[in-house]
Amino acid sequence: MSIRFSFGGDEHIFAEVSEEMSLEAFFTSLSMTNAVKQAGIRGVTEICPANASFQVKYDPDQIKPADLLRELQSMEGAASKSDATLKTRIMEIPVYYQDPWTHETLMRFRERHQDPKATDLEYAAAVNGLGSVEDFVQAHSSQPWFVSMVGFVAGLPFLYQMVERKRQLQVPKYLRPRTDTPKLTIGHGGCFSCIYSVRGAGGYQMFGVTPMPIYDPNQQVSYLQEEMCLFRPGDIVKWKPINRDQYDADIEAVNENKFLPTIREASFSLTEFNKDIDATNAKLMEVLHGR
């Protein structure tokens, strides 16, 4: 694939690896941004990888836009040929699906939804041809997801489902964005799931909440003391459905700062994944569960 570059005003270069989402496009974006980081180009102030694109912010008083563009273009060949393997992490995120808080919120914004008579989960199950909400939750939580972007707001991960394209869950966003979304809502729009790191506006369908903090500006949470934001592009996530009792127990642990997420080192190879998705995911589950 050939990268499409465009100037975003006088301070950004925007690069679209592919119009459509794929893990290949994500890996090219990641190796490009890693290469830009390593090159230590004078004047570059922000390097942001995204799902199938990336962006570099720079100071045009230090480097001419045309010179930076040429440098980025010269890295393209190496990035698309690079071996798509990652040393990364797999983590388990508890999810209380069909919780009362997202339910209360989605009822408030029914007039902005495609199907005002159904809940977001009922609608998502129907548009994906699944018989029931339980079937949808099973499809959502049985296979791992790949963090293909961090952003929108502080620490919010975009997650891409690690299954064949024809099995990927796709749900349109709300017709008009809501002005409110509970903190730590599990959302879904297009082919991406996300975790809303903070309370605020949002257009993704709402499926549940996690008790597990993923962003802490005060850096008090035990596993967020070094980095405010938990997620990095390339992380792998497995949802773990929990019930109200488990949710309450987890919240209590979070409040006492005793909650410990399950996070394990893992490696991921795109070639192996494409060869045998089920086997790759099964291996990742073994790593997650320490077997």
Partner: protein, 322 residues
Amino acid sequence: MAVKILTPGLSTTVQDLGRPGYYHLGIPISGGMDRFALRAANMLVGNDEGAAVLEAVFMGPEIEFTTAATVAVTGGDLPPKVNGDERATWEAFPVKAGDKLSFGFLKSGARAYIAVSGGIDVPLKLGSRSTYTLGALGGHDGRALKAGDRLPLGQGGSGKGSVPANLRRGPGNPAELRMLPGLYWHRVTAEAGKQFFADTWKVAPEADRIGYRFKGGKALDFVPRTPPFGAGSDPSNIVDACYPYGSVQVPSGTEPIVLHRDAVSGGGYMMLGTIISADMDLIGQLQPHSPARFVEVTLDQALTARHDRQAAIARVRAHLQR
């Protein structure tokens, strides 16, 4: 050595020149929306140009000083008063311990910058004192100020003088916001692109530090396509991507939104292009319902405008150092 907030105004936050380097995590640069005015306010009171100040929107706070200091108010025309007596904007004035600073009604612009000698000395968070309210990060407890807040001041320099009207910078009427087309410009028809620049828009009520929405122009016509996998079915949808500061996204093709200092770092709407860095300050001074036009420029014109703005800052600096 502090200021006490007696009443907070509508939304007053601590801001400096921002927090670069964390946009890849979704943490935006933040900082004063009108950085020209923020720098000038600091120069007037003898601070470093990037010291933390108060940014007040539409309405001023009431502040009590616990120490003598020099104060300057720049940006929108929000007349300051010391113990009820009016002072000039864009001019340094002294206050004594116990003095109260309040404000009259906003006459023009949208945001005032209140600099105090020594600077607002809240703790640095990721290298900046700026408030990012959406992420509850920085400033005073990560939020807009409330009555009863007490903000420490740094060790002060002192300043004097004023910035005459011909050295100030603000938006015209209608505001002309220069934009470099690009990003997903190819998604709209040539006719729609022409119309976008021809229309006069109005600032919508949804205008804040994250972004400014505009309305009143014609809806965009898109070039037909088969939606790419993962993008979504609306013609304005893209696979969620990074958003440049100043980028102009048009959800559903109807109301353009210009992302500002507290920008969301990415999302799934196509962008027509990017407002050039030189004109970002001007957006921060636009009130809802004020008219604005988008003006097409080239990258070379954007760079010339950038240098013109830097020269305007240098003229204020030179004037005050005389």
